[in-house]
């Protein structure tokens, strides 16, 4: 067994790391960045004074959090028209080709549909992370700031947000770790991530367990290292006060 694991690793490590891991990481990073941006907007919408705006954000968050991720992947994969992706993101593909990438248009569109689904999913969770990070800031901070004559906006940006960020950033890091694991679901659509590479290697070698153990080890090292980095970072943020 151990022997075959070593063989799998020496034979396919380039494919696991160069393709699988690279795609898993880029997909996760894209998701967490855009998920955070859209999640921030959603969090602001949910704290908005205008009622319908709050409703829209709440409905979005409820629907996304109340349905399975795999279902959402299927939904967006089949729902988003190719032409839509190409109109909006065709330039990204052209840029990639320009820089020597050999990704076909079809694979690119597939990847983008999955990325959009993951981003939409993540934004709903992240918005709650951001909202609770903001609400965790002591109300006395707002009151002190307002009592000094600062406006609501000044109070939010100068007093509340800087403190909320210290709650939010580590939570976003943890979200990144979650997404790394969640992207494995996208292998259902063969987008070339770690789990997709596993399926390829399994097909080639007719071995089930050994490549699975290799992939598990890669995920484990990745999430372990990231979690520890985040924890160290969190301690540093806390110490700053």
């Amino acid at each position: 067994m151990l022997e075959r694991i070593v063989i799998i690793w020496t034979g396919y490590w380039k494919m696991f790391l160069g393709e699988g891991l690279a795609i898993t990481l880029s997909l996760s990073a894209t998701t967490v960045v855009f998920g955070a941006i859209i999640g921030s907007a959603l969090a602001l919408m949910k704290m908005c004074r205008i009622l319908p705006v709050r409703w829209i954000a709440s409905a979005y968050i409820e629907v996304i959090r109340g349905t399975p991720m795999l279902l959402q992947l299927y939904f967006f994969y089949f729902m988003i028209p190719n032409s839509f992706v190409l109109t909006l993101f065709g330039w990204v593909h052209k840029l990639m080709i320009l820089f020597g990438s050999e990704v076909t248009q079809r694979d690119f569109v597939k990847f983008m549909c999955i990325a959009i689904a993951l981003i939409i999913n993540s934004s709903a969770y992240v918005s709650e992370v951001i909202r609770s990070g903001i609400q965790a800031v002591d109300r006395g901070q707002t009151e002190a700031s307002r009592s000094l004559g600062l406006s609501g906006k000044q109070t939010f940006f100068r007093i509340v947000l800087p403190q909320a960020v210290k709650n939010i950033l580590p939570a976003l890091g943890n979200e990144f770790v979650m997404i790394i694991k969640d992207t494995s679901l996208a292998s259902t659509f063969f987008i070339g991530d770690l789990m997709s590479v596993y399926n390829v290697v399994r097909g080639k070698t007719y071995l089930v367990m050994e490549p699975l153990i290799v992939v598990a080890a890669i995920y484990l090292v990745l999430t372990y290292v990231l979690s520890n980095l985040i924890a160290a970072w969190e301690r540093r943020l806390k110490k700053g006060d």
Binding site: G140, R146, S147, L148, L150, Q163
Partner: protein, 250 residues
């Protein structure tokens, strides 16, 4: 109700009412504070003291009644609440210093953001204020490293940096360890002797007696009794005042 009142009063409230849901907390508070006056508010917990104080700078919005500051009704629509609040310093029981800013930044933030002072002026003022309360050497520290008494002194000078006309204190020493109460009261005492108009909610009866021109006994949402410190502490007329004092003074 007329708009203007004689401006010999810096604060005047007229029939102030405030409820939280079904809980009627202020049941018609009418009170006046003259410039330079020091008014203490005492009374049992839950009587509405904090709520009254917080109404004065509209941290709570009263649903009925009026608040005149220098004769201007600030409960009216269209009043710039922020401008008004800049003239009133407020000190809270739990300090509420800004943990992400240094001691100096805690003080300079508001004067600079409200364009009251330039950055340079604000820093000079902050340093002078910090020296005054013995915190100059903490200038660049984060408040997390300060003791409770130091935090509260910082909170006081942070408010003073806006050069307010009135200072509102809501139990400024209640959250402190006993050995730190004195240092904070010293700062307030000095302020009061400097002529600052002050409204202070406190359980420090000795201090209230010493510094106040007037003492209000607040109970169940109304000012149940008011008078000079001598009247309230040595000769209370309302049985509830007597009961309260006998409990806290024993």
């Amino acid at each position: 109700m007329t708009d203007k009142t004689p401006v010999e009063y810096i604060i005047e409230t007229v029939d102030l009412h405030k409820s939280f849901g079904n809980l009627h907390v202020l049941k018609g508070v009418s009170e006046r504070v003259r410039p330079g006056e020091v008014v203490s508010i005492i009374g049992p917990s839950g009587g509405g003291k904090s709520t009254f104080l917080r109404c004065l700078n509209l941290l709570e919005i009263p649903e009925r009644g009026h608040i005149f500051i220098h004769g201007v009704d600030i409960t009216k629509k269209g009043v710039d609440v922020n401008l008004h609040r800049r003239k009133m310093g407020m000190v809270f029981q739990l300090f509420n210093v800004f943990p992400h800013l240094t001691v100096e930044q805690n003080i300079t933030l508001a004067p600079v953001l409200t364009k009251k002072s330039t950055e340079k002026e604000a820093k000079e003022a902050a340093r002078a204020l910090l020296s005054r309360v013995g915190l100059y050497d903490k200038l660049n520290e984060k408040p997390g490293r300060l003791s409770g008494g130091q935090k509260q002194r910082l909170a006081i000078v942070r408010a003073l940096a806006m050069e307010p006309e009135v200072m509102l204190f809501d139990e400024p020493t209640s959250a402190l360890d006993p050995e730190m109460v004195g240092e904070v009261l010293d700062v307030i005492r000095e302020l009061v002797h400097g002529g600052m108009t002050t409204v202070i909610v406190t359980h420090e009866m000795g201090f209230a007696k010493e510094v106040s021109n007037r003492v209000l006994f607040m109970d169940d949402g109304v000012i149940a009794e008011e008078g000079t410190p001598d009247q309230i502490f040595n000769n209370p007329r309302n049985p509830r005042t007597r009961e309260f004092l006998s409990k806290v003074l024993q």
